[in-house]
């Protein structure tokens, strides 16, 4: 028997769904009630997988916690696991991203926060330290917040090379380190912007999400604030990746965890019209590293759908065949058990969904 778990972070807490052997989903929650759960991760280096949760409560500040019993209980230290050093004079507003490292680096967990900063843990997420190389970057005073805030929302540690890390910041763009986080450089060559006079600035792009290929870590797909791009050189350069898409705005993007070249995204019309094209909920899929995209939307609403999938709202579960999932700002969760060939709605009327993660937990 296999059990799949969906972790759905919303503006009012975390909901957990479980399905046994592909059966109906059973939902529990919310945990962390009234907390904006913007970051969830299944750390599959643990058995059962550890669930990492991050976010922020409007009144009580940032939250970072974990569960080793699939959400039956949660561990949150008395002392803050993640805080800025005193000499910065800055406080964490919210956790936006939690990213466990690869299997052969067992303690490594990364966190992206608002205000835009990167933290690293080497004790499985119990405590985090500010990555000062990025915090002290001379560009930082020039970074501008996106509509969601001045956040570091994407962390992609390199699976084979601990010295390489890629992050994305709204609105600063992509930055990469090749020395374990000591130094950082912008990595936005070719990513065009529509909201500044200069079309190809060194930095300042409002990158919404980046996904790394499962087998070739140098291949990346990127959803920008207007424009989908791809890279085949680890992010050193980017080119358009929009053939077949109905629009090039959007947030939700994820890569297939075991088939190289495949990724999924959820397009929206434009920054000034943030709705799905034609009122249809559509997931688009590439199987050629972003050279072309095709709709993979059978079973999704074909009319009257005006909701949005946010940057971490589209995910996969690692199963074979692959489960693909997304959650919407109108509180719906959709699931595919067959690699996006067909879809069904598995939850409705939740609070606004900020993030979704999934894993086969037993």
């Amino acid at each position: 028997m296999s059990t799949t778990m969906l972790a759905v972070g919303t503006v009012k807490g975390l909901f957990l769904g479980t399905s046994e052997d592909g059966g109906a989903w059973r939902w529990e929650g919310p945990a962390f009630s009234m907390t904006r759960v913007a970051a969830v991760a299944f750390d599959t280096r643990h058995q059962p997988p550890r669930i990492l949760v991050g976010g922020g409560h409007e009144h009580w500040g940032p939250v970072i916690a974990h569960s080793d019993d699939l959400g039956a209980s949660w561990v949150e230290g008395d002392e803050a696991a993640l805080r800025f050093p005193e000499d910065t004079g800055v406080a964490v507003e919210r956790v936006w991203q939690l990213a466990p490292g690869p299997a052969d680096r067992p303690g490594e967990v990364w966190a992206g926060v608002e205000p835009a900063a990167l933290f690293r843990s080497d004790d499985e997420g119990k405590t985090f330290s500010l990555v000062t190389g990025l915090w002290d970057h001379p560009h930082r005073p020039s970074w501008q917040p996106g509509a969601g805030g001045m956040c570091l929302h994407t962390v992609l540690p390199h699976p084979d090379d601990a010295s390489q890390v890629l992050v994305a910041i709204s609105a600063a763009g992509v930055y990469r380190s090749q020395d374990g986080g000591q130094s950082w450089a912008p990595s936005n060559a070719g990513i065009e912007v529509t909201f500044m006079p200069e079309k190809l600035p060194e930095f300042g792009q409002c990158v919404h999400k980046v996904a790394r290929d499962c087998a070739d870590p140098d291949r990346l797909i990127l959803q920008n604030h207007g424009g989908v791009f791809r890279s085949s050189d680890g992010g050193a350069s980017w080119e358009r990746s929009e053939t077949g898409l109905p629009a090039n705005f959007g947030f939700g993007l994820t890569a297939h965890p075991s088939r190289s070249g495949t990724a999924f995204l959820f397009p929206l019309i434009a920054d000034m019209n943030r709705m799905p094209p034609d009122g249809m909920a559509r997931v688009y899929r590439t199987d050629d590293y972003g050279a072309t995209w095709t709709s993979a939307s059978h079973g999704l609403p074909r009319e009257g759908f005006y909701s949005v999938v946010l940057r971490d709202g589209l995910t996969t579960d690692g199963d074979d065949p692959l489960g693909v999932y997304f959650g919407t700002r109108s509180g719906g969760v959709f699931a595919s058990r067959d690699e996006a060939a067909s879809w069904e709605e598995v939850a409705a009327h939740l609070p606004e969904v900020l993030c979704v993660r999934a894993a086969v937990v037993s």
């Binding site: 409007e58 009144h59 009580w60 949150e76 008395d78």
Partner: protein, 93 residues
């Protein structure tokens, strides 16, 4: 001197009680009282103040009924026997 700190339900759950009775060095400010709260219940204190020591935007603190934001903020004096009330403000939707 002795100060009473009354906590809202969420924070009372973390402290195990809705009322803390604390021994605080005299003279004391709101910041001094919160320092003592942090010594005994750090999970409560960090929900009232951030790591810079600033009181969180949507948390209100009253000393004997006076809103400290209208007084001297964290420097507001807390007299012996005072009641410090922590209340979440109106926010959210």
């Amino acid at each position: 001197m002795t100060v009473t700190v009354d906590l809202p339900t969420v924070l009372a759950g973390l402290a195990g009680t809705s009322r803390l009775v604390l021994e605080v060095p005299h003279p004391a400010s709101v910041a001094d009282v919160l320092d003592v709260v942090g010594e005994v219940h750090p999970a409560v204190e960090r929900r009232v103040r951030d790591e810079t020591g600033a009181m969180r935007r949507y948390v209100n603190v009253y000393v004997d009924g006076g809103d400290v934001r209208a007084l001297q903020g964290a420097a507001t004096p807390v007299p012996d026997g005072a009641v410090v009330l922590v209340v979440p403000s109106i926010a959210g939707g």
